[in-house]
């Protein structure tokens, strides 16, 4: 690991954007003060992310009284040393930033779809930081094993196949985990 200075989220957010040789913006996150590049996601990763977003939105459309919104890859300043880009997040409407490009604090529900390059150490750090930052729940989605690990405080639950995923932060939502991977 190279010895680089750790950044604050403020320093990180003031960095100019970087672009690769094809002019695509290089996506990264700040994890514990360290800038971590996010390699382009696979098609499967995107498909699962979009499917989850659709399932959440369907429930939101039917239940406007929940007053929540789903966001895709919305940057969140989770702590003074952490700026994450959850694949999908669910936040209360009154917390949604209209003008800002960054969401302050942890989303109420953060969803991360695991990529082959994700190390368990960084993934665990993100889960811990989301929960410490006020997230109620984090869903970690494993495309390979078609399972979801649900983290909330000290509870870790793994769901597979026809097991239904529900969340206190999202009342009424209930879907078999397999629906994420169809």
């Amino acid at each position: 690991m190279p010895a680089t200075a750790l950044l604050t989220s403020e320093q990180y957010l003031s960095l100019p954007e970087e672009f690769d040789q094809n002019g695509n913006r290089i996506k990264d996150e700040l994890i514990g003060g360290e800038v971590v590049k996010m390699p382009p996601a696979s098609h499967r990763h995107d498909r699962i992310k979009n499917r989850i977003k659709r399932l959440l939105d369907r429930h939101l459309d039917r239940n406007p009284h929940l007053a929540m919104e789903s966001l895709v890859e919305m940057g969140a300043e989770v702590s003074k040393r952490d700026v994450f880009v959850p694949d999908v997040s669910l936040v209360k409407l009154d917390r949604c930033p209209e003008e800002e490009r960054i969401f302050r604090g942890a989303p109420d529900l953060a969803i991360e779809v695991v990529s082959p390059s994700d190390t368990i150490k960084r993934l665990k750090a993100k889960v811990d930081t989301y929960l410490q930052g006020g997230a109620n729940t984090v869903w970690v989605v494993f495309p390979e094993s078609r399972s979801v690990t649900v983290y909330s405080n000290d509870l870790v639950r793994e769901l597979k196949g026809d097991q239904t995923i529900e969340d206190p932060v999202f009342p009424g939502f209930s879907t078999p985990v397999s629906a994420f991977f169809k």
Partner: protein, 185 residues
């Protein structure tokens, strides 16, 4: 990810040892038929592993009636495509046959994986799933950075931190505060 042929555990077992340019043996595991290198572990990883092994050995020596043995870095042929090397394992002595078998068949009763910076989430997840397929087993995944242990057993899992006590049905009356694992003094 490069497309490589999927190996069986038998093929893996028959591979000649490989060495790096310094003459050190390159350690590997077979995860779902894929060869995965195990880079040399950091000091933090080794100290934490040492702490855990010390606690477990003290326990099994004090309880010989359980017939258990604590072993570091032993290869287990868990399936025909998975040969895994947990950092530490607790296994029933009756399953050992060191003069007859090269690697131990099946999952250990308790597999302990100390997370390294290079471990990918997907490989670790696969390993936990594979260990648990082999019957009523337990896996401890140990996170040196967050000083926590996630315990997987059957369909349930929970995370323990700080002074929470780690226990296991395989080890009756065993109890150690999780913080003991992370004592670096």
């Amino acid at each position: 990810m490069p497309v490589t042929a999927v190996l069986t555990s038998d093929q893996f077992s028959a591979l000649p040892d490989q060495f790096d340019k310094n003459g050190n043996r390159i350690r590997q595991e077979l995860i779902s038929g894929e060869l995965v290198e195990m880079p040399p572990s950091f000091e933090l990883h080794n100290v934490v592993k040492g702490n855990i092994v010390e606690v477990l050995i003290a326990f099994v020596l004090a309880h010989p009636e359980l017939g258990l043995k604590v072993i570091s870095e032993m290869a287990f042929v868990v399936t025909s495509n998975d040969t895994l090397v947990p950092d530490a394992s607790v296994i029933r002595k009756t399953r050992l046959s060191p003069r007859k078998q090269k690697y131990t068949p099946g999952s250990p009763e308790l597999a302990i994986e100390v997370v390294s910076p290079s471990d990918t989430a997907i490989h670790l997840k696969s390993k936990v799933d594979i260990y648990l397929q082999g019957g009523p087993k337990t896996v401890w995944v140990v996170f040196p950075d967050s000083r926590s242990v996630v315990i997987y057993s059957g369909d349930s899992s929970r995370e323990l931190k700080c002074d929470q006590s780690i226990e296991d049905q395989l080890l009756p009356d065993f109890a150690a505060p999780v913080s003991r694992f992370f004592d670096l003094t």
